[in-house]
Amino acid sequence: MSTVAPAGDATPLAGSSLHRFANPGRFLRLSEVVLPWLVVPAVVLTVTGLGWGLFFAPADWQQGDAVRIMYVHVPSAWLASSGYFGLALCSLLSLVWRHPLADLAAVEIGPVGAGFTALCLATGSLWGKPMWGAWWVWDARLTSVLVLLFLYLGHIVLVRAFDDPVRGYRAGAILALVGVINLPIIKFSVDWWNTLHQPASITLLGAPSMAPLMLWPLLVSALGFSFAFAAIVVARLRAAVMERRIRGLLMARAVSR
C-alpha cells in the first residue's frame, strides 16, 4: 500500500501514513488479527519467565532467594518507563498530527502504565524490606519512579477532567510531554546520585554484569511483560473505539428523533 498522500490531500506526508490507521474500522480489523499474536506470546513467555525465575534460576550468593523478586520487579520497571514513552509518543502524534487514535491510545495507556509502575514500586518495597531493612527510602531512583506514578495518575485525571474530551486530550498530551523529562532522571538517577538502589546490571552497550542463568529468565520475563502490556493496550483500545462508535450512533439516533 502506498504511503504517498493522494493528490489534493492537504495532510502532511508524514502524517498521511499514520492516518491510514486512524480509520476505526481498519484499526478494528487490523487489531483483531494482531491481538492473538500478542496474547499467546504474552502468556507463554510470562509464565515461562516467572516460572523459570521462581523455581529454576539460582539464588544469589548475597541476597539468597529474595533475588527472585527481580523477575517481576525489573520487567515492570522497564514497562513503566517504556509505557510512559509510548504515552508521550501518542501525545506527540495527537498534538502535531491530530491523530484521533493517538488520543484514545494515550487514554488507554495511562491506567496500564500506572498499574505497572505501582507493581514496580510495590515489588521494590517487598525486595527492599529484607535487603535494606526498610520498605521505603527517599532514594533518587525510588523517588523518580514515584514521580512517574504521579505523572500517570495526573494524566488519567486530567484527560477526564473536561466536559469537552478534546480539551482533556490536549491538556493530557501537554502533561505527558512535559513529564518525559523524568525518564532520563529515572534511568541515570543511580549514576548521578549516590543511591541505595543498585546501578544497572544490563546496559545497551556493555556486557551484562549478571550470570546467564539469571539473565535469561529475566529477559524472557521482560519479553512476556512487554507482550502483555501491548496486548492489554490494544484490547483496551479496541474497546474504546467500539465504545466511541456506540456513543456516536446513540447521539445520531437521539438527534434524529
Partner: protein
C-alpha cells in the same frame, strides 16, 4: 526458600496486575462488541 513471604507477595501482585488488566480488557471488549452488535448489527459484524 529464604524470604518466602516477600517472594510470594511479589508474584501474587504480578498475577493480580497482569490478570486484572487482562481480564478487564477482555470483558470490556466483549461488552462493547455485544452493545455495538445490538445497536447496529452490520457494524457489529465488522467489529468482530
Amino acid at each position: 526458600m529464604t524470604h518466602l513471604p516477600f517472594i510470594a507477595a511479589s508474584y501474587a501482585l504480578a498475577v493480580l496486575v497482569l490478570g486484572g488488566f487482562g481480564a478487564g480488557a477482555w470483558l470490556r471488549v466483549g461488552a462493547a462488541r455485544r452493545r455495538l452488535a445490538a445497536i447496529d448489527p452490520r457494524r457489529g459484524r465488522v467489529a468482530r
